[in-house]
């Protein structure tokens, strides 16, 4: 088993983060090629590559670009670098190890969609990654890769950084737009979609960091070459953030369609210590959990994981060993979603709070058997009823944890302690 390095081939070289180092390995040659192409041809190439949004939703990128109005209205290109889905730390390595790849991808994408202004929205805690991106922007401006008349082509594109300030919801594209507009990061009702009415009500494309970086190899080698990797419906490669109870956690770029067990056992070196695999959350904390048996059947592509009732999400694979208590872990997740609900929609604001209170009453030994059903009922009522997907994201782990590990929940309620750990977790939850 080998990593496929379309994006990350040179990431281990420290000089790759500088303009000189990046150019030494072919950096900005793709931009020169792209600026000679008709913009529509770039859009078609991205469409034909089958690239899907790498932030979590997996929406086809070329199709998203196609929703922009055809006339010459000013439009914006926003890079979503608010990486916050628990388990995810992949955009961070692009910021830290290949800032120019992201910038090159953004200039190409901006040119393709007719945008003259882009922002990189980066989560506030990523101070070091932001400093690296800012230094790279400075270098790019200095040699005329950004600004007016890029490389003498008459094309203009400005790029700036905007810092978030600690809010998971700003990873949702319309929440991010609200935040960039200087407001609370509350998502906006769709339609109108951002492509029609986004940042300051202007046509806007929001793409994830990894998505924009992937535009570079797609335009460099062409859509057909990109499709040599991955599956029919999930072409190309993707970065997977592997974490939890594994020997070698880290970011791995693999072809989509790679068996999930290969990521865990080959790249990740298997389960830490002498433990056995119990469960895996395959796409960030919002993705329904898989049992160890299901893991053996799962491939890392959009359709295989959807077939197992879960999702590829952001590509964050969280490995859970058999010493872990699922009731305890669900308490960690319900706390997260109740903390991060923006409070705008009632089913989410109230629902996330209640889910958290009920799970914690079980963890504190106050649970009743009917609370398990109550959790499921509340979770089902939170699905599909709100402006954005956070409510669903909070509900899905609850439903999947209970459905697949019901015996642990029932034991906890009956005995007032964890079936696995033998203890009560009351004092461990802050």
């Amino acid at each position: 088993m080998k990593e496929v390095q379309l994006l990350t081939e040179h990431y281990s070289k420290p000089e790759y983060r500088t303009l000189k180092g990046y150019q030494q390995w072919g950096g900005y040659e793709t931009l020169k090629k792209a600026l000679k192409m008709p913009p529509q041809q770039i859009i078609d190439e991205v469409k034909n590559s089958g690239l899907r949004g790498r932030g979590g939703a997996g929406f086809p990128t070329g199709m998203k670009w196609g929703f922009l109005p055809k006339n010459g209205e000013p439009r914006f290109l926003l890079c979503n670098g608010d990486e916050g889905e628990p388990g995810t730390f992949k955009d961070r390595i692009i910021f830290e190890q290949a800032p120019h790849q992201l910038i090159e991808g953004m200039i190409i994408s901006g040119f393709a969609i007719g945008s003259k202004k882009g922002y990189i929205y980066i989560r506030g805690e990523y101070k070091k990654p932001a400093a690296i991106i800012e230094a790279a922007l400075g270098e790019a401006y200095e040699v005329g890769l950004l600004g007016k008349n890029i490389l003498g082509t008459g094309i203009d594109f400005d790029l700036d950084v905007y810092w978030g300030a600690g809010a998971y919801i700003c990873g949702e594209e319309t929440g991010m737009i609200s935040s960039l507009e200087g407001d609370k990061g509350q998502p906006k009702l769709k339609p109108p979609f951002p492509a029609v009415q986004g940042y300051l009500k202007k046509p806007t494309i929001v793409n994830n960091v990894e998505t924009l970086a992937a535009v570079v190899p797609i335009i460099r080698d062409g859509a057909t070459a990109y499709r040599q990797f991955g599956t029919e419906k999930s072409p190309g490669t993707k970065l997977f953030s592997l974490s939890g109870n594994v020997n070698k956690p880290g970011n791995y770029e693999v072809s989509l369609g790679t068996p999930l067990k290969d990521l865990i056992y080959d790249f990740g070196g298997g389960i830490k210590g002498d433990r056995q695999l119990k469960a895996v959350i395959p796409g960030g904390s919002s993705a329904p959990v898989l049992t160890a048996d299901e893991v053996l059947k799962a491939n890392l592509d959009y359709e295989s994981l959807a077939g197992l009732g879960t999702m590829l999400g952001s590509g964050a694979v969280i490995v859970i060993d058999d010493s872990q208590c699922m009731v305890d872990l669900l308490g960690v997740l319900t706390h997260f979603y109740s903390h991060e609900s923006c409070g705008q929609c009632t089913p989410c604001r109230e629902g996330t709070g209640w889910l958290n209170k009920i799970v914690h009453s079980i963890l504190e030994g106050r649970g009743r058997l009917q609370d398990i059903e109550l959790l499921e009922k509340v979770a089902h009522q939170m699905k599909g009823k709100t402006i954005c997907a956070l409510s669903d994201a909070a509900a899905l782990p609850v439903i999947s944890f209970i459905t697949k590990f019901r015996d642990e929940f029932e034991f906890y309620v009956r005995e007032g302690r964890s079936k696995v750990k033998g203890i009560s977790h009351a004092k461990m939850h802050h």
Binding site: G87, L180, E181, G182, S243
Partner: protein, 157 residues
């Protein structure tokens, strides 16, 4: 009364011109003011920003209250934020948190008496593969053990 320094005022003015809309400068301005006010934001800070930015108090206040990186009460010289989300919990972050609290005789979110430390438990900071971790002011410290974390904190001046 809180007042921005000459330099801080300049920075806020620059931010007001940096984006398409002046309102976009509120988040950067809150960062600037928080730093000058020693790490947290008060209603005086908001009033002052409202005046110099010509943006209503309510508009700044709702933004301030929404984001977790703006502190509503005073924090120590070193704000220690320990991630206690799932990947970190799987790797012992709660035991690490407990060990730190016991070693420095403090409670979560309460500043130590000497004003040096405030320890908080926070959500995912994007260091899941390097768990457990803590952020001290702006810096990440990763692949920690409880002992290593306490050693780092004891070394702070």
């Amino acid at each position: 009364m809180f007042q921005l320094s000459e330099e801080g005022l300049q920075k806020v003015q620059t931010e007001l011109k940096r984006y398409e809309s002046r309102q976009s400068a509120v988040i950067p301005a809150l960062y600037i003011a928080q730093k000058e006010n020693g790490g947290h934001v008060t209603s005086e800070v908001i009033d002052h920003l409202s005046q110099v930015m010509d943006i209503p108090v309510s508009r700044i206040n709702e933004v301030f209250k929404f984001y977790t990186m703006f502190n509503q009460k005073n924090v120590g010289k070193y704000h220690v934020q320990i991630c206690n989300n799932i990947s970190c919990v799987l790797n012992g972050s709660r035991e690490l948190t407990q060990h730190i609290l016991e070693s420095f005789h403090c409670k979560l979110n309460d500043m130590t008496l000497d004003g040096k430390l405030t320890v908080s438990s926070v959500e995912c900071l994007g260091a899941c593969g390097m768990a457990p971790m803590m952020q001290i002011n702006e810096d990440y410290h990763e692949n920690l053990t409880p002992e290593k974390a306490v050693e780092i904190l004891k070394g702070l001046k």
